[in-house]
């Protein structure tokens, strides 16, 4: 009996962590997506394009670099799911929503950084990196998305 308690306790703690990770993670993701969709609709007026504009922009009164970055952490449930994927292969769908949220949040922050008087953000680039790797096992801790571009304002908008 005695030697069974240790592993059993480990198993209970593990299951607890997985379910906490699942419920908290799902709730956080749901709320985040609601916020993203609301703000995306609000900032829809300002285009963020990846094109470079070589020709002169005569009406432009100013241009500056704007950026936004977001760091999203994985939860315990997603970590386990991705850990299993490492064995079997295939698409790591558990991480897809994380990257998607980080990317969209970064672009939104970039637009917020540019402000409502911006006409267009040109030359937009997005970069991602994983940060905060856990010490044991070297699995991904959280991911960062960084979006940056050149915000253009025309004289009419001041």
């Amino acid at each position: 009996m005695m030697e069974a308690i240790g592993p059993l306790l480990n198993l209970i703690i593990f299951l607890l962590l997985v379910s906490v990770g699942y419920f908290a993670g799902t709730l956080a993701e749901k709320r985040h997506y609601q916020s993203i969709q609301k703000r995306e609709a609000a900032w829809l007026r300002i285009p963020a394009v990846s094109a470079r504009f070589d020709e002169k922009l005569p009406q432009a009164s100013g241009g500056e670099m704007v950026y936004g970055s977001a760091v999203i952490s994985i939860d315990y449930f997603k970590r386990i799911l991705a850990g299993l994927r490492i064995i079997f292969g295939g698409r790591v769908t558990a991480y897809e929503s994380l990257i998607d949220r980080a990317r969209r949040e970064a672009i939104l922050r970039m637009k917020e950084n540019a402000g409502p008087n911006t006409d267009i953000i040109l030359n937009v680039r997005i970069e991602t990196s994983s940060i905060g790797n856990s010490a044991n096992g070297g699995s991904v801790g959280s991911i960062e998305a960084l979006a940056y571009g050149t915000a253009i304002r025309t004289s009419q908008n001041g």
Binding site: M1, M2, E3, A4, G6, P7, N10, L11, F14, Y22, Q37, E40, A41, L44, R45, P47, V49, F77, K78, R79, I80, L81, G83, L84, R85, I86, I87, F88, R91, T93, A94, E96, S97, I99, D100, R103, N136, G137, G138, S139
Partner: protein, 280 residues
Amino acid sequence: MVRYTPKLPEKNVNVTPRSHIRELFVLLSGLIAIVVVVYFLLGLVVDQLVPYVPPSFEKKIGSVYLRQIEGIDKKDPRQPVLQAMVDDMTEKCVDLPYDVEVIVVNDQLVNAFALPGGKIVVFDGLLKAVESENELAFILGHELGHFVNKDHLRGLGRALVGLSISLTLLGTDSHLNDMLGSSLNLNRLRFSQQQEGKADIVGINSLQCRYGHVKGATDFFEGLEASSSFRQLRHYFATHPAESKRIDDIEEYRIKQGFEKKALQQLPSVFGTPDSTSTE
């Protein structure tokens, strides 16, 4: 010039709409199924190979295990008594191709087990709990039975198989490894009920052979059963489950063989007075 009309995407192509719970369940059950199949297949292979393991190789494995045991008391005054009992039994009653050595460990565990290489490890806690020489002879005979049936090697093979699977398959991903490793641990060094039953038969036969009767064979289990508050500390139990079934099986075998029950033999004085927590 391209006309820019801002609009939101209708659907998110970057996120697969899939139930993660279901995915976890499918992957986890797949993994567990593979582990179980491999564990049992390798277990079968080990069972096939066990009869061919030479005693010299067994000794090597045993010494690895022995080095990990702490508190071995070479000067314990009870050791020569136990050794003499085992020597007597291996000479007259139990047929083994090698000599068996008894090792006394100064630990309160109520346990004894058979290590590869012909070593019977007996804990101080068990020696304090036994009340007659017959009872002790049965326990020693039972452990000798594990040697006769080569159970100690089977247990070892399964343990190695289990450990190898969890390390190879799961690599260094510590979270998964911890979980699966610990669930394998639960069954690792435990003999099956069938193996225990067979070892009990060897035990009772050696009692009959040594004393001409088999009284005391079930004393140990009965003592354990009666003092249930002490049960959690009784390590012997953890590896020897379903004790009442075993008592019944032993009794049934005794009647079938026509073995009698006569007076118990007192323990030699080096064993001191019996532990008060045991009954009878």
